[in-house]
Structure formats: structure tokens, C-alpha cells
């Protein structure tokens, strides 16, 4: 069990006043003053509306905000339930806010929440991002109920995203998890998710909390660990997901280094599982998947392509250490394609990712450099996808992602070959 000494005395004092709970909702924060009030109000209404008989607590581990986030958390309230709800809460509504010890970051905050869930013997938990502009009270119900009432252990969200939003998730993370682990989980690295108290305790028992990965990729680790360790997983449709002003490419290398690096590391940790696993299964999904017209993200492919072309040549020496010659040739062919005909086919994309994964595993080069080299290729793939689907309706886009997932599955034997081959021996 992870040490609990990271909890402050004040935090423990507040938790002991709460006592045993049925439902724990956690909102880790760090300077989120602009969005936290809305999220807290949504949670309060959600708990009152859907869990008014149950013992609930809302916990805010804060990483040391200097913008007044904890104060806003404590004071955010819904005073007139009669207007908004059919019921008044039967029980005291508990909210606990306390700074946590350790390095500020979401992973430390999550660990704090899991420790709290363990201490309070929570039956089900939901973790919500403090930045979501589209959170509704129904999110709480959707994330908690499968774990609380339906005996699921991990509840991944299913968002309706803006067109071209979440391409890293849909075009890389989700299909790799699908092909490797056999679970068609569409949001494997979400900031909003639900889990059972049993799984929270299981996560705490894992000896990963002092490793570097916890600084970057806890979400993908939780998702894949839940799959590997045999926990029941489901998805819940939450509706639209709108975050404050996302900017494509904003620290894209950093994001890829963190998220894709964590995915590759998980593949290493779990290789005995996924090497022996084939096929994939859809997950039970809760909630009605309604459509809401969302503005597509406006992305300039010209900028992305220019970025790809200007960087790729200087990366060739690095890429030669990662990719097979045939793959590299195919990639270099793309450079000279005119913008409108620029394409990075599914087959090439999957092959590229698998070769990167294997190279990562074999430590062909410094892992940070390897992941950095993936960035321009990812830009190329994104440009290609946008150009190809500029006028495609949402349903067709979903089919494209399904096709891509199947391609990742089809080429899984190639990944296994590369992964299990002697390092550098067959490039």
C-alpha cells in the first residue's frame, strides 16, 4: 500500500469528519480559478440529483494554486435546489479541499485521491477535470453509476468532440490500446473517469508511484493496468467536451513525449499480456449517444505541412535509427507531394507507430529523442487526415477511425515481430 504520509494533518482531519462514503468525486486543481466553480456546482447538483441517498464527498487536492482556486472551490454552492432539482439533499454535502504534499501535478493529486478513497472506503469514485467547460451534473451520474451500481471497475468517458479534436487519442493512443490490449476503449487518457473503490486501492498497491512515469502518463497506465489485471471496464457517454481554447501544436513535442512515451512504457510493462492477446472487444457503453452540432476545430494544414517538411530532412539520421528503410522511403516520398495530394495512408501510419514502439522498447536511441522524432510524422499524419476528410460528416469520420483501429489490429503481428526481434538486428 502506498504510504499515506503524503496527506496533511488538516486533510486527515477533514477526512475523518467525513467518515465512510459511498461516492467520492475528486477534482484535482492547480490554478483553475476560471473554471473550477462551474465544475463544483455541476458536481454538487449531480450528487444531489442522482445520489441524494448516498454518502458522498467532493475532494479537491490542490497543487498549491496561487490564484484562489481552493477558496472558490470551498465557496461554490448551489443554494436553491428547488428551482434546479426535484429533490433536496438528504445528507450533509461534504467538500474537502487541502493542498497535497509532493511535486505539484495531476499524478500526485490522483494518488492523494486514491488514498482518500481508501481511507473513506469509497465504493465508487469519479475524477473530473477542473477545466471542462461542458461538464454537466449528468457526468457525475454517468461516471459513478457503472462502478457503484453495475459492478464495473473502470469507467472511461466517451465524449462528443469537435471535428478534428482529439486526433492524437483517436489516431494513435486508442487504436494502439485496442490492438495491443484488445479493448476498444476510445478515450484511454481522459481527465474525467470513474472507478470502483476496489480499483483505486488496487492502483495504490502498485509499485509505480515513485517512478518517473507517474509524472507524465498516469491515465494511460491506469487504463491499461485495469485491462491487464482483469477489471471490468465500461464507457459512459458524457456528451460534448469543450476545453478552454485548445491550440493545435501547443507544446506538441512535450505532449507526445509524455503521452506516447507513457503508452510505450506501458507496452513494456505489460508485454507478457499483450503479446499473448489477439483480437479486440467493444466495451459496454452507458448513456444515450446523442449528437450536438459542434463547431469543427479550425486547423491550418499549411502551417503543419510546412513544419513537417522543414523538420523531416534534418531528422533523417535519427529516423534511420528508428524506422525500417522501406518505411523511411515511403515517408520521404510524402515530402514532395503537393499540399492537396498530401496523404499519409493508414497502413504507413500504423507501420510507423509500431516501428517507433519497437525502437523505444529496444532503446535504439535515446528515448526522448525518439519521441521527439515522432512529432513531425504525427504532424504529417494529421495534415493528411484533415485534407482527406475536410468535408466528411461526423459519421464518416467515425468509420475512418474504426478502419484505422482495424488496421492497427491487422498489423499487430508486425509489431510483435519487431518487438520480439533482437535489438537492431533486422532493420
Amino acid at each position: 500500500m502506498a504510504e499515506t504520509a503524503q496527506l496533511s494533518d488538516e486533510f486527515i482531519r477533514q477526512l475523518s469528519a467525513v467518515g465512510e462514503v459511498d461516492v467520492l468525486v475528486g477534482i484535482p486543481t492547480f490554478n483553475n480559478k476560471d473554471t473550477i466553480e462551474r465544475v463544483v456546482r455541476a458536481v454538487q447538483i449531480g450528487l444531489t440529483k442522482y445520489f441524494h441517498r448516498d454518502r458522498c464527498v467532493l475532494i479537491n487536492p490542490d497543487g498549491g494554486s496561487t490564484d484562489g482556486t481552493p477558496e472558490i472551490f470551498k465557496n461554490a454552492s448551489v443554494s436553491d435546489f428547488e428551482i434546479m432539482l426535484t429533490s433536496n439533499p438528504l445528507r450533509t454535502f461534504h467538500r474537502v479541499s487541502a493542498p497535497y504534499h509532493g511535486i505539484p501535478g495531476k499524478e500526485t493529486a490522483l494518488r492523494t485521491l486514491f488514498v482518500a478513497a481508501d481511507l473513506l472506503r469509497a465504493k465508487a469514485c469519479a475524477i473530473l477535470s477542473p477545466t471542462s467547460l461542458s461538464v454537466t451534473p449528468e457526468w457525475v451520474e454517468s461516471l459513478v453509476r457503472p462502478a457503484y451500481r453495475e459492478n464495473f471497475d473502470f469507467v472511461a468517458p466517451l465524449y462528443q468532440r469537435q471535428k478534428f479534436d482529439g486526433l492524437l487519442v483517436k489516431g494513435l493512443l486508442s487504436p494502439v490500446v485496442r490492438a495491443a490490449y484488445g479493448a476498444r476503449i476510445r478515450e484511454p487518457v481522459a481527465g474525467d473517469f470513474g472507478l470502483s473503490g476496489k480499483l483505486a486501492r488496487h492502483f495504490l498497491d502498485k509499485n509505480i508511484w515513485d517512478q518517473d512515469m507517474t509524472t507524465f502518463g498516469l491515465e494511460i497506465w491506469m487504463t491499461t493496468t485495469a485491462i491487464v489485471d482483469g477489471f471490468k471496464i465500461s464507457e459512459s457517454f458524457l456528451g460534448p467536451r469543450i476545453q478552454p481554447a485548445p491550440q493545435f501544436g501547443q507544446d506538441l513535442p512535450g505532449t507526445i513525449r509524455q503521452v506516447v512515451g507513457a503508452l510505450f512504457k506501458c507496452l513494456e510493462m505489460h508485454e507478457s499480456y499483450w503479446l499473448a492477446h489477439s483480437g479486440s472487444e467493444a466495451l459496454p457503453t452507458f448513456g444515450f449517444q446523442y449528437d450536438v452540432a459542434l463547431e469543427p476545430l479550425k486547423l491550418s494544414t499549411k502551417t503543419i505541412l510546412d513544419n513537417f517538411r522543414s523538420n523531416i530532412d534534418q531528422l533523417v539520421p535519427v529516423l534511420e535509427s528508428i524506422l525500417t528503410p522501406a518505411t523511411l522511403v515511403d515517408i520521404r516520398k510524402m515530402i514532395d507531394l503537393p499540399d492537396k495530394q498530401f496523404r499519409c495512408a493508414d497502413e504507413l501510419w500504423v507501420k510507423t507507430i509500431y516501428e517507433f514502439a519497437a525502437a523505444y522498447h529496444h532503446s535504439a536511441i535515446n528515448r526522448d529523442h525518439l519521441l521527439q522524432a515522432l512529432t513531425p510524422l504525427y504532424r504529417a499524419r494529421v495534415s493528411s487526415f484533415i485534407l482527406e476528410n475536410a468535408k466528411a460528416p461526423a459519421a464518416k469520420l467515425e468509420q475512418k477511425f474504426e478502419d484505422l483501429g482495424q488496421e492497427f489490429e491487422r498489423q499487430k503481428p508486425y509489431l510483435i515481430d519487431r518487438w520480439t526481434a533482437k535489438a537492431g538486428g533486422d532493420r
Partner: protein
């Protein structure tokens, strides 16, 4: 009897049914002679007033709440002389007597109604509420939803409809008629002159009807009560009216008037919330109920109770709360009746002694005059297989012998079957066996009542709610004439710690009231208390 115009504030009231208490003549039902024989038991228990359910002549279609003669005693209970003897003997033991007065309606067998329906020209005709159509007063809800479909009933004799808020055999009196008010005062005077100390006024919100209203809590109803109270104060200044108004506190508040209507009124919303708080293990329901309780005039008092002769009424809760109460306390659907749960205290608490004690601890320490329902002091069970509310009106269990010591009659002749199941049966749960043990519920109740009566803080004091971080702990300070009592209750099934902000009482020493032990002096820090499951403390805060 010592003179005390505010006796009802300091009282501990015991509610009983004459028929259910003790049968001295072996006819299978209790009567006043039997009750008189058991007054020493009540004296020993420590109660200071007895509230009797209706004992008037009645066809007994609503357990006596259908009165057919207001100034007599049902022959099954004895005679007026028997009642007078009982009254004198109770007074000799410093026990006051509160009787029922059903103001709102009579039995359809009452001579007044018989005359009223006999002829449209009869002077008694206007003593009741009649209509040619059932369309008047459409906004009035139906109270007995399980049995009644309308508040109007067709009278085949006079070929018109009569108004009834309760059962159709209980026609409502017409208080717009001054003669009715005058006659009802005559009834009151009859009993008060005899020596009765207080009258529990049944169903007072419904006395007057007006179109376009709910026909509840109308100003004209309050006018009737003011009229009666004025007469009372003029003639019997030490006597008391207790209003039964199953309404929200802000509506009930009106029944105190400016101390010119009723002296006491039941606090209906608090009762289910005490049960809810213990089941939820959260003080919120009780705190909410008290927060929403308005201040009342100084001479007035709330009557608070855990259980009574009716179902545990859930009219004064939200729909969510009602669903919760049904799910938690009426798992057997037979326990439901109307908008309530027909169960006694002990079965509701699954015979958990700790929870029974905690609820009684709340009853005796929250603001108001506590009312104990007969048999609950020994943890009697109920019988949900009996109809209506009869399951909580079974014979008192005096001992483990023949008919529970209640009656010498053949068991088949008893007015009601005894409770005889292995958990609550009279062989197990009875007065005699509990008298033999210092640790029985009965002995504990005696001690609780004794401690309650050792001070006037509980009966007359103010209350300040404390708000410890631990919501499973309910804490408040009662204060009267400089004396202060701290009450701390753990509503949870697990041990709890609570840090209380008692700095206002810094320097005082908490003296635990049951054992007399001093606790550490209150200082500048939060005062830490640990409480076992369902445990409670009463501390006298003393300057030592």
C-alpha cells in the same frame, strides 16, 4: 397537585389507550378501573402527565375518534365515576391528565348527525356541512387516501352530500355555526370542571372550509380556536390546549397565535427526521427541521414524540424523503398505511437497544415536551397483520404469564391479539421482567426521565446548535436561567470523534449527567470528544 401554570412545559407525557392498558374485570379490554390500578407504575416510571386516547361512547369504527357522545364514558371503559376516581388518583400522584377532544367531526351515529340527516329543517342540520353536489372545496386533499376517494359522502336520508375530511362515517361539524362553537365549549367545560388538566384537540386545521382553498389552516379556523382559548383563560387559567396539526412548522406556528390559541402543538416534521438522521447517520435532517422551526411565544411549547397511536406519518416530508423512509423502514409493504408506516419504535429500530436509547435521548433533550407512547418504554413490538393502525395498539405487556398479565379473560376474548413472536412477544418483552433488571430498557428509561426532570433546562431552555465538522455528530447547548447543558449525540453505527467549538463556555467543567463524572475543563482549543456507536452525552457545564 402543585400549582404550576406552565406544567405542560415541564411535563413528560405518557400516551396510552385505556382499552390497551389493563383489564381489571376480565372482559378482555382495559378500562378506567384497570388504568387506575396501574398509576403506580406510571408514577414509578416518572411521567408527569397521561394523555388518554378517546374513551367516549363510539361505534368504534375509528378506534374512538368517531365520538357519538361527548360527555360520557364508553361502557366498555366503565362509568363517569370510574373516570373521576382515576382522575383523582392520578392527581394524588402528581400526574396530570390530558384527554382527547375530537373537535372536527363526530361519528355518524352521534344524535346530532342523526337529527341533521333526518330532516333538512332540523336545527341540527346546520351543525354539519352539506352540499347538493360533491364539487365544493375541490382543492382540499384527501387524507385517508387508502380508504376514501372523496371528501364528500352521499347521505341517502336527506339526499345530499355531507363533508368529511377523514372517514366517511365521520361527518365534519360546521364551525361557521355559532351554536356548534358554543356547544363544543360546553363539552370542554364539562371535562375541565371535572378536573381534566388539558385537552388534546384532534385535527384542528380542518375546522372550517372555504372554496378555493385547501380548507386547512384557514383564518376562520384560528378564530374558532381563539374563541375557545378565550373561554378557557377566563374560566380555567391552569388548563392547556394541545393542537394536533400535522402541518409544516410555519403553518403550525399559527396555532399558537399570540399565545391566544393553543398552549402546545405537536412538531410533526421533526419526528420522521429523527429516524431519518439515524438511518442516514447524518445530523442534517434534524438540523434542517429545527432551522425551519419558527420561534413560538414564551408560554407555548412544542410537543415532540417518536411514535404514537397513528402510523409514523410521512406527510411532512418531501417525496424523496418519503421514498427513503419507506425503503428503509417499511421493507414489508404491509407496514405502509396511508402516507406513513404503522410500526412501533422497537421494530423500527430492529430492536437495537443503542438506537432506541439514542432516539429517546434526542426526544428528552430537544426543545419541547416529550411524549412517550405506551409500551415503547419496554420496547414492545407490533403486529402489521392487524388492520388499520391496530397493530400498534395491542395490549400492554405486563408480565410473561396469562395474557401478558393484561387480562384474566380467555385469550380469544381479548380485544386484540397479543404480541407473541419470539422477538417481541410478551414472554420476552414485559414490565415485570424488566423491573428485575437494572440494565433493562425500562430501568434505563426511568433513569433518563429522572435526569430529564432534574433540570428545567430541557423543558424551558434555549437551544444553540453546534456545527462540528463531523456531520455524524449532533451537538447543541441548552440554556435556561444561567444553567447550561451540552448534548452530544453520535448518530452513527461506528465510533466517532468530534471537535466542538465550546470556547464560548471556556472555563466551565462538563459534568456528565448520568454518572456525575467531571470531564476536562473547556479551554481555548476545540474540545475533543469520542463517542461509541449511537452513544450520547449530556453534560452540565459548571463553573467550578
Amino acid at each position: 397537585m402543585q400549582s404550576n401554570p406552565l406544567w405542560y412545559k415541564d411535563a413528560v407525557i405518557y400516551e396510552l389507550h385505556v382499552r390497551a392498558f389493563y383489564d381489571s374485570d376480565g372482559d378482555g379490554a382495559g378500562e378506567f378501573k384497570g388504568l387506575t390500578q396501574k398509576l403506580d407504575y406510571l408514577k414509578d416510571l416518572g411521567v408527569s402527565a397521561v394523555w388518554l386516547l378517546p374513551f367516549y361512547p363510539s361505534p368504534w369504527r375509528d378506534d374512538g375518534y368517531d365520538i357519538s357522545d361527548y360527555t360520557s364514558v364508553h361502557s366498555a371503559y366503565g362509568t363517569l365515576d370510574d373516570f373521576k376516581t382515576f382522575l383523582d388518583e392520578a392527581h394524588r400522584r402528581d400526574i396530570r391528565v390530558i384527554t382527547e377532544l375530537v373537535l372536527n367531526h363526530t361519528s355518524d351515529q352521534h344524535p346530532w348527525f342523526q337529527q341533521a340527516r333526518g330532516s333538512r329543517d332540523n336545527p341540527k342540520r346546520d351543525w354539519y356541512v352539506w352540499s347538493e353536489t360533491p364539487d365544493r372545496y375541490k382543492d382540499a386533499r384527501i387524507i385517508f387516501t387508502d380508504t376514501e376517494q372523496s371528501n364528500w359522502a352521499w347521505d341517502i336520508s336527506s339526499k345530499s352530500y355531507y363533508w368529511h375530511r377523514f372517514f366517511s362515517h365521520q361527518p365534519d361539524l360546521n364551525y361557521d355555526n355559532p351554536a356548534v362553537r358554543e356547544e363544543m365549549w360546553n363539552v370542554m367545560r364539562f371535562w375541565l370542571e371535572m378536573g381534566v388538566d388539558g385537552l388534546r384537540l384532534d385535527a384542528v386545521p380542518y375546522l372550517v372550509e372555504r372554496d378555493g382553498t385547501s380548507c386547512e389552516n384557514l383564518p376562520e379556523t384560528h378564530d374558532v380556536l381563539k374563541f375557545l382559548r378565550h373561554r378557557l383563560d377566563e374560566n380555567f387559567p391552569d388548563k392547556m390546549f394541545l393542537a394536533e396539526a400535522n402541518q409544516w412548522p410555519h403553518d403550525v406556528r399559527a396555532y399558537f397565535g399570540s399565545a391566544d390559541e393553543c398552549h402546545m402543538a405537536f412538531h410533526f416534521p421533526l419526528m420522521p427526521r429523527m429516524f431519518m438522521a439515524i438511518k442516514l447517520e447524518d445530523r442534517k435532517p434534524v438540523v434542517d427541521a429545527l432551522d425551519r422551526t419558527p420561534a413560538i411565544p414564551a408560554p407555548c411549547q412544542w410537543g415532540i414524540f417518536l411514535r404514537n397511536h397513528d402510523e409514523l406519518t410521512l406527510e411532512m416530508v418531501t417525496m424523496d424523503e418519503r421514498d427513503y423512509m419507506y425503503d428503509e423502514f417499511a421493507k414489508d409493504a404491509r407496514a405502509k398505511l396511508n402516507l406513513g408506516i404503522r410500526r412501533r419504535l422497537a421494530p423500527l429500530m430492529e430492536s437495537d437497544r443503542r438506537r432506541i436509547e439514542l432516539l429517546n435521548g434526542l426526544l428528552m433533550s430537544l426543545p419541547g415536551t416529550p411524549i412517550i407512547y405506551y409500551g415503547d418504554e419496554i420496547g414492545m413490538g407490533d403486529n402489521i397483520y392487524l388492520g388499520d393502525r391496530n397493530g400498534v395498539r395491542t395490549p400492554m405487556q405486563w408480565n410473561g404469564g396469562w395474557n401478558a398479565g393484561f387480562s384474566a379473560a380467555d385469550p380469544e376474548r381479548l380485544y386484540s391479539a397479543l404480541i407473541s413472536n419470539p422477538l417481541y412477544g410478551y414472554q420476552i418483552v414485559n414490565v415485570e421482567s424488566q423491573k428485575r433488571s437494572e440494565h433493562s430498557l425500562l430501568s434505563w428509561m426511568k433513569q433518563l426521565i429522572r435526569v430529564r426532570k432534574s433540570t428545567r433546562v430541557f423543558s424551558r431552555g434555549t437551544m444553540e446548535m453546534l456545527h462540528p465538522l463531523n456531520h455524524r455528530v449532533l451537538a447543541y447547548v441548552r440554556e435556561f436561567e444561567g444553567e447550561k447543558i451540552l448534548v452530544v449525540s453520535n448518530l452513527s453505527s461506528q465510533a466517532q470523534a468530534a471537535e466542538l467549538d465550546l470556547r464560548r463556555w471556556k472555563g466551565t467543567v462538563p459534568i456528565e449527567m448520568f454518572g456525575g463524572n467531571p470531564f476536562p475543563r473547556i479551554g481555548d482549543l476545540l474540545y475533543l470528544l469520542t463517542l461509541g456507536p449511537y452513544h450520547f452525552y449530556w453534560f452540565r457545564l459548571r463553573q467550578l
